[in-house]
């Protein structure tokens, strides 16, 4: 007559039995043992009770209502950091590798200096993106010269108008002349104004995508007031 295995030979298996991690044969052996062993039955019940207490505690966790919003803030911040890092890794010029906010302010400052010397009408704050402005023939025509009638709207723009849509290049020596700063009698011509506007727009659209709270126009207005 064979002797039944001692309880200790099953002792390490009860937890896996509860978790359904034993083979079918091994699980059948344990079930059969339980029929004859009160000690192992109590052991198994104690483990089940521990699980029940753990599960009862499960209901006490509540997700804070603002957790998703806080996560979004971290995602947005992370995007800004990643953008700066990516720019640095791409080896872009120093001006672009500077923090985004600083880049925006630099662009705004350039615009404010220019506006202070060339604009006669005040800026109108606009919460949207800067409106892309295409110069008209009227802009380029000196006072007193007759303006030709406008061309049909579906006609291609003349070359001098299309140039404003291209990526601009600004000659750094243009602002090196002290007479050109603060000299209302010698403003930049309309083509330069277009170039600057498009340059600023190209510079800032990407940044505005990642800094929702920074209002470029507000910065422009403040700087204009400060220099005006």
């Amino acid at each position: 007559m064979s002797k039944a295995p001692p309880c200790e030979s099953y002792a390490d298996d009860w937890s896996a039995y509860l978790d359904g991690e034993l083979s079918a044969n091994r699980a059948a052996l344990l079930r059969a043992h339980l029929l004859d062993c009160d000690v192992c039955t109590r052991r198994l019940e104690a483990l089940r009770a521990a699980d029940a207490v753990l599960r009862a505690d499960l209901a006490t966790t509540e997700v804070p209502s603002d957790l998703r919003a806080r996560l979004q803030t971290r995602i947005d911040t992370d995007s800004v950091t990643s953008l700066a890092t990516a720019r640095e890794q791409r080896g872009l010029p120093t001006r672009l590798r500077a923090p985004v906010g600083a880049g925006l302010l630099a662009a705004a400052a350039a615009a404010a200096v220019y506006l202070a010397v060339s604009r006669e009408t005040p800026l109108t704050p606009d919460p949207g993106l800067p409106e892309q402005r295409v110069a008209t023939q009227e802009d380029r025509t000196p006072p007193g010269v007759p303006v030709p009638p406008p061309e049909p709207s579906d006609a291609p723009a003349p070359p001098e108008q299309r140039v404003a849509m291209q990526t601009p290049t600004i000659d750094p020596s243009a602002s090196a002349d002290p007479k050109s700063v603060g000299a209302p009698e010698a403003p930049l011509d309309a083509a330069s104004e277009e170039e600057l506007a498009v340059a600023l727009e190209l510079e800032t659209i990407e940044d505005l995508d990642v800094i929702a709270n920074l209002d470029l126009l507000e910065a422009l207005v403040l700087l204009e007031e400060g220099t005006g």
């Binding site: 937890s15 978790d19 991690e21 521990a50 753990l54 505690d57 997700v63 996560l71 971290r74």
Partner: protein, 186 residues
């Protein structure tokens, strides 16, 4: 071939640019992750921070995600690694030692007594859990509460399935013993 689980499909949709899929994943998993991390750390503030960190890493991985395992296994692996790192930080702040009873509990009634009892029992479970070694705790929570298989836990904890079986068994036996001791002491 095993069908791709729904969470993996959501993640793949997010990788393809569906931002709502990320929101859905957050809705489906944030509570469970928060609960798991609270039990691991016994510090609700740190658990919230790490829950955000887990989802931030999910968000960042959208360009390189590969559906090589169940989504939950991947998620718990991130969470467990973060929790173990947090627990090993030298200057980790002290978690609160007990659940404070608010003034509304001062006036006792049968219902209030039941709430107090439940809170104390919950706190007792968390204290006992904290006494378990970190990997035992993680293995038990993943097996008993999260329903992970030993194979998934092995992947999460980067140990063998045999080791998981031992970890879960020791943790569950230890928890049962300590809870019984506390019950007798009361």
């Amino acid at each position: 071939m095993e069908a791709i689980d729904e969470d993996v499909q959501l993640m793949l949709a997010f990788c393809d640019g569906d931002a709502r899929a990320f929101d859905t994943l957050f809705e489906r998993w944030s509570a469970r992750l928060l609960h798991y991390l609270e039990r691991m750390l016994r510090d609700p503030g740190a658990a919230e921070e790490l829950t955000q960190e887990v989802f931030l890493r999910v968000y960042r991985s959208r360009d390189r995600y590969r559906a090589e395992a169940r989504f939950s296994t991947w998620l718990y692996r991130i969470a467990t690694n973060l929790a173990l790192n947090e627990l090993r930080r030298p200057h980790r702040r002290d978690p609160h030692k007990s659940v404070e009873e608010g003034p509304e509990l001062a006036a006792r009634s049968p219902a209030v007594d039941a709430v107090v009892h439940a809170r104390r029992e919950s706190e007792s479970v968390r204290e006992v859990l904290e006494e378990l070694p970190e990997k035992q705790r993680a293995a038990l929570l993943l097996a008993a509460l999260e329903g992970c298989s030993y194979a998934e836990i092995a992947e999460t904890l980067e140990v063998s399935e045999k080791a998981v079986k031992a970890l879960v068994h020791r943790a569950r036996t230890g928890l049962a013993t300590k809870l019984a001791e506390r019950k007798e002491a009361v």
